[in-house]
């Protein structure tokens, strides 16, 4: 029998290998985020203080839209040649697949954030007044909030005809509390205010949605 942790590990490694070879998700995400940074920097010419006020919203909206690209790609690989059926007929646990996919997406979006954040800092002349480690914490829990829901809803919209449209329709409304917390926390930290409430809200959101997704994923995977 296959141990859940071992299946999660091999599935994650397989996804990283496929992405390394195709670069489908990373390239599309990078291109999209780069466009957002450049277009917005030409559209506005904010002062340092104005930048601190708008940067949170700008950054997270850019990452949210870019993440949708990666989320769609993750499952597209599994339905090409119906490979997902090979997983479904195997004794491997459903949740191992979900965790591996979520971790994979977390890595892809984190790589994107690591590459794009310096550009945001340069283009918007950002300087944080609050502690930077708190920003890193917000990035981690915020990214998890995006990908855990995104991976789940992408799996849900897998068999629908217009899944590229269906995913944002499902994901965006559900992500509003998380997005609000991410934006407010980022803005608060950049402006030197306390972000404690928003970080707690984000962590709670992560815990609730991760649990719900894990409980429901098997049903979603085997839906016809």
């Amino acid at each position: 029998m296959s141990a859940p942790a071992a299946v999660t590990r091999v599935t994650l490694l397989k996804d990283l290998r496929l992405e390394w070879r195709s670069k489908d998700a990373i390239n599309s995400m990078l291109f999209f985020s780069l466009l957002v940074v450049v277009v917005f920097s030409f559209s506005f010419d904010p002062s340092a203080e104005e930048s601190r006020q708008i940067a949170g919203g700008l950054i997270w909206v850019a990452f949210l839209f870019a993440a949708v690209v990666a989320l769609n790609q993750t499952w597209a690989r599994e339905i090409r040649n119906q490979v997902l059926d090979a997983y479904r007929v195997s004794p491997a646990p459903s949740n191992s697949l979900f965790i591996a996919k979520t971790l994979g997406n977390f890595i892809f979006v984190t790589v994107l954030e690591a590459l794009m954040t310096p550009l945001f800092i340069v283009f918007y002349r950002l300087r944080s007044i609050g502690p930077v480690w708190q920003l890193l914490l917000v990035v981690m829990v915020g990214t998890w909030a995006l990908v855990v829901n995104g991976t789940f809803f992408a799996a849900m919209s897998l068999r629908t005809r217009s899944r590229e449209i269906m995913l944002p329709l499902l994901l965006f409304p559900t992500s509003i509390p998380a997005l609000l917390a991410m934006v407010q926390a980022t803005t608060s930290i950049l402006s030197g205010e306390s972000a404690h409430f928003w970080i707690v809200l984000l962590v709670t959101y992560d815990l609730v949605f991760t649990t719900v997704c894990l409980l429901l994923f098997e049903t979603v995977l085997n839906a016809e």
Binding site: V10, T11, R21, D85, R88, S90, E224
Partner: protein, 225 residues
Amino acid sequence: MTETAPPPIITVSNLIKQFGRFAALRGVTAEFSAGKLYAILGDNGAGKTTLLRTLAGLNRPSHGQITILGESKFHDICHEVGYMAHPSLLYDEMSGMENLEYFARLYGIAGNSRCAEVIRAVGLDPDLLRPVGQYSQGMRQRMSLARALLNDPRILLLDEPFSNVDLHSAKEMVRLLARARDNGRTVIIVTHQGSLLEGAADEFVWMEFGKIVERTRGLTRGLKK
């Protein structure tokens, strides 16, 4: 001395599968024994693939029951079943060996000796580094069969395994499947190329409009049609 029929390993009773208002299976009742090779034949839309997918636990029956190895929950016996679909069920970007290594881990099979063994068994080279996406259709079919054989299953469910395979390779595949049957495996093959299985199949199961209409020892009925 009279020949006693082996006990059924798969029992299907009054199986109905509906997709919305369309009934793909309309009350299929059948038994399949251990150590036998069955060919399921019929026109397009007869319900062959739906029956196979339902046996493989990929479709939930709308009505009726399936018992495999005494269990009605597919997940309890999934490690005893090998499934090959019409699409390859392989990742195009990875080599055959990489694909099989991944699927082997899903069954808890460590190392790659079993992977190499089944790749050789279907007549391919385990050291071939080319990604599956660059294989010919026939090679892809054979690699797909290797994936189905990976967990050494007691039951093999194969959907169109010979499509796009050249005659020589198809005959090799039939010999391999007949050997599996001789080793006590139950092999169920959905195909339009029934003639390839003449002499190898123990029984031909004929389907029409979502029902099994006849079971024959040879292809006689098909020739009459």
